[in-house]
């Protein structure tokens, strides 16, 4: 047997044995993106809450799907084949209706509204689905919805309604579709809830069309009116303006009142903020099953974002800043004034530090010139403040204990628990405290789980932005829950649910290693001065490997390698820096998970420098700002419609035109340098949006 034959056999064997499951790669990449962004937004404490809201809001804008099958039009149409016996409609806030004949083939496909039209645009406006089997059509639609990111969130809701005069058939189709979608979702993220019902055909179709909603949504509304006991005049019309997410939440609460709706909530917040007429944008997230039921409104201005909560029924603004534009034109504070504000804030919370002089003070302004970022050390603690540059109000603050010995500084809040804290430990003074048990109860109740079923419970009392919070983490089976509970009111501030490992296995989830035995429920028993990291550590080698893998380079190619182990806001990080040729790479790697938190590549265009210079005389070539922008957007994989806070600067660097382009998309900030002659990306950076 010769060498070639052996090689052929090996190649063939490897090709046969290698996994061939492309679909799975696509699915996991989708999930990775989700997960990646979630991991990343939790990395930086000051940005954590905000980032999470953004992620959720983006998904929740249209995170609900209604699938409706209606039947029994029959008879009068063009014979059996074209007789509609059922109508299937998919709503993603928008709605799609599929009319189905007796052979369960699609006769027609109707977009109920604009989002649906968009979704159907690459299916011939729905005509491509005509004549295909119902399950195939639903498969195509569910696939399109998943790809569009509608169904990947815990709060996604799917309503399957089947309306058909033949009750048996209705029930069967309903069950088949629920099973089908359920299975499809388990393969995806397993996050969306599936609701379903089947009814005989009623007059719901007429009223649905009158109100420009799907029959499924109409049926849901009728149910809510009946079950919640809503007696308002025009209740149907009012409820038809709500999204499916709002309706599902409303149904859950059983409230007999009608929520004001996202638009009114947004206007209430805008008016309260004094932002009317300023052309601001808003993101609204209904939280009707929160206590109190509210809308979370984010007002996005050129100066930044402002968050509001608006009572879901009265429209009263419960939290948020007033007159956000009035303060803008005022005089800026001096650095001393900003530092004084920070010191005053610190002294109010840590009286024993009141007389101390802050050391190692660093003051800088943020890139929007709207706040001072102040860091200083005082009494063994490192304080970080964001002070509004005009009003001196404390926008955000954080404190961490400086570890006297050892590598890196563990981030530990000065414990507010009175008995165990050493006398030197600064003690923030909470107003009221619901206590750990109530916080746990609130989380369990929201999650709909019993304490008896809960494992790996961990409750941490924490201050965030000066607010008392309980972070409650636990597992039920292979679902891991993370809650942030307001320590004064018991309100759920945020929550997250993730499926980890296999049920029954003890493998800890990669992202959240259990560092305590499952029975340990009281982290208070740890001395508050403990600064030892309680997270697992992948080690410098793996961190390096992760950075190299991301950069697509081999260790042998790199030079000037530097790896630093560090804690940022209590999160173990490795900072990995290296050079490959002329390119300088800087990575931040999560020390527990190996996830790339942020990275930066600079240089790598010396060859081009050469090219341009040697080409002679084309230094003034200029593709123009539009093309430069397009190059950056294309590289970032974003569309201009999603971009905000765009800044484009044309610069003449050593006779060469470069465009500096900055913009934001979602929770990220991008910075690009584009070669003005070629449109080539010279450097780029992606990081969390402040």
């Amino acid at each position: 047997m010769n060498e070639n034959r052996i090689n052929e056999m090996l190649d063939s064997a490897l090709s046969h044995a290698a996994p061939d499951d492309l679909e799975n790669v696509f699915l996991r990449a989708e999930k990775e993106k989700e997960k990646g962004s979630e991991i990343e937004v939790t990395e930086t404490k000051t940005k954590k809450k905000f980032g999470k809201w953004q992620t959720w809001q983006r998904v929740l804008v249209a995170a609900c799907l209604v699938l409706v099958v209606i039947g029994g039009v029959g008879g009068i149409l063009l014979g059996q084949a074209n007789a509609v016996v059922s109508v299937v409609s998919l709503d993603v806030n928008p709605g799609i209706e599929l009319s189905i004949n007796r052979g369960e083939k699609v006769i027609s496909c109707r977009a109920v509204n604009a989002d649906a039209e968009k979704l159907l645009s690459d299916m011939g406006g729905g005509r491509d689905l005509e004549g295909v089997k119902l399950d195939v059509a639903v498969n195509a639609l569910v696939g399109a919805l998943v790809r569009a990111g509608y169904l990947n969130d815990i709060s996604s809701a799917i309503l399957v309604s089947v309306e058909d005069d033949d009750e048996t058939r209705a029930t069967r189709i309903q069950q088949e579709l629920v099973d089908y979608i359920d299975g499809a979702l388990k393969g995806e993220s397993g996050q969306a809830s599936v609701f379903s019902h089947s009814t005989t055909r009623s007059d719901v179709e007429a009223i649905a069309r009158d109100n420009n909603i799907s029959t499924g949504k109409a049926t849901l509304i009728n149910e809510i009116i009946k079950n919640n006991g809503i007696t308002d005049e025009g209740a149907f019309e009012k409820l038809s303006l709500l999204t499916v997410k709002e309706l599902v939440e409303l149904k859950r609460t059983g409230d007999s009142r009608i929520p004001i709706g996202s638009e009114l909530a947004a206007s209430a917040a805008i008016e309260y903020a004094g932002a009317a007429g300023n052309g601001v944008r808003t993101d609204v997230d209904p939280e009707l099953d929160d206590v109190p039921p509210c809308y979370e409104v984010e007002i996005i201005t050129d100066n930044g974002k402002y968050e509001y909560t608006v009572d879901a029924y009265t429209g009263e603004v419960l939290t948020g800043a007033r007159d956000i534009f009035a303060s803008a034109p005022k005089e800026k504070l001096t650095e001393d004034e900003a530092l004084a504000a920070a010191k005053a804030h610190m002294a109010a919370r840590f009286p024993e530090l009141a007389g101390s002089t802050p050391e190692s003070v660093v003051i800088r302004t943020d890139d929007k010139d709207s706040e001072y970022e102040i860091e200083f050390i005082c009494g063994g603690y490192k304080f970080e403040y964001d002070i509004d540059i005009y009003t001196a109000s404390v926008l955000d603050w954080d404190v961490e204990k400086i570890n006297a010995g050892g590598n890196g500084s563990g981030s530990v809040m000065p414990s507010p628990s009175e008995t165990t804290a050493p006398p030197t430990s600064p003690t923030p003074a909470p107003s009221t405290d619901i206590g750990e048990d109530a916080a746990k109860a609130a989380a369990f109740s929201h999650a709909g789980v019993k304490e008896a079923d809960v494992t790996s419970l961990r409750v941490v009392r924490d201050y965030d932005n000066g607010r008392l919070e309980y972070d409650v983490e636990f597992r039920v089976g292979n679902i891991e829950y993370e809650y942030e509970i307001n320590g004064e009111t018991g309100v759920v501030i945020s929550y997250d649910r993730e499926t980890v490992g296999q049920a029954g296995t003890t493998t800890p989830p990669a992202t959240k290693p259990e560092t305590e035995p499952p029975t340990t429920t009281k982290p208070e028993t740890e001395p508050p001065t403990t600064t030892k990291p309680t997270v697992s550590d992948i080690g410098a080698e793996s961190a390096k490997a992760a950075a190299f893998a991301h950069a697509g380079v081999g260790e042998n190619e790199v030079s000037n390698l530097k790896v630093e182990r560090d804690y940022d806001d209590g999160i173990l990080e490795y900072e990995v820096e290296f050079r490959v040729g002329n390119a300088k790479y800087e990575y931040k790697i999560n020390g527990s998970t190996g996830a790339v938190i942020s990275y930066d590549v600079e240089g790598d265009h010396h060859d081009d420098d050469h090219d341009h210079n040697s080409a002679g005389g084309n230094a003034s070539a200029d593709i123009g700002a539009e093309k430069a922008k397009a190059a950056a957007f294309s590289h970032a994989g974003v569309s201009e419609a999603d971009v905000r806070a765009l800044k484009v600067e044309r610069e003449n660097e050593h006779g060469r035109i470069e465009y500096e382009i900055e913009f934001k998309v979602g929770a990220y900030e991008y910075e690009y340098t584009i070669d003005g002659a070629t449109g080539k990306v010279l450097s780029h950076e992606k990081d969390h949006d402040d």
């Binding site: 047997m1 090689n7 190649d11 064997a13 046969h16 044995a17 061939d20 790669v25």
Partner: protein, 193 residues
């Protein structure tokens, strides 16, 4: 849904043309072209699996590491800069992911060299000949010999490129390759026609 045929890189292609194609496929993947990725997957999955298998020595782990590699490629190819060494780029990712997985496994105390198996029990396309030849490659060769032989057979990389990828001197790669082929010839003699 995309259906992918089982394309593999065989030694009959022009290597330079292959590199150009792979570079192009990665760049297109980075721009969100799913078909390009599908082709890239088809062309490189055997080599990626070979790399993972040669480090992890366990079919299940190797499958996972191979799939991890493609997830990584799919999510990070936007930053890919074509340098004319696409296969090395891909296999470096595989190697790093395999090493990470190996370290994790060692920490968890799961690694038992006797337990490895090159081929999953329920792999439908694997013939008995496949099972035999891969099994021998796993059993009879040293770690480095195995890596060199499997990569050579599946990746289309030249010995010089394999040497660079595995961080070994070219002379070592050449001698180990020759020794490995001889070993396989001898153990497979009589077993296969």
């Amino acid at each position: 849904m995309l259906i992918i045929s089982g394309l593999t890189v065989s030694g009959t292609h022009d290597p330079e043309e292959d590199k150009q194609t792979l570079d192009d496929l990665i760049v297109r993947t980075g721009k969100g072209d799913r078909e390009a990725f599908a082709e890239l997957y088809g062309r490189t999955r055997a080599a990626v699996y070979a790399m993972a298998l040669s480090y992890l020595k366990n079919a299940e782990d190797a499958e996972d590491a191979a799939q991890d590699t493609f997830v990584k490629i799919l999510t990070s190819s936007g930053a890919y800069v074509p340098k004319g060494t696409p296969m090395a780029w891909i296999l470096t990712i595989t190697r790093n992911l395999s090493l990470m997985r190996m370290r994790r496994r060692m920490r968890e105390g799961e690694l038992s060299p006797e337990e490895w198996d090159a081929i999953p029990e329920d792999a439908p396309r694997v013939t008995s000949e496949d099972r035999l030849v891969l099994g021998e490659a796993m059993r009879s060769l040293t770690d480095e010999e195995r890596r060199i032989v499997l990569l050579h057979a599946s990746s289309g990389l030249k010995h010089r490129e394999t040497a660079k990828l595995l961080e070994l001197p070219l002379s070592t790669v050449l001698s180990k390759y020759n020794r490995a082929i001889k070993k396989l010839q001898s153990v497979l003699k009589g077993e296969l026609v």
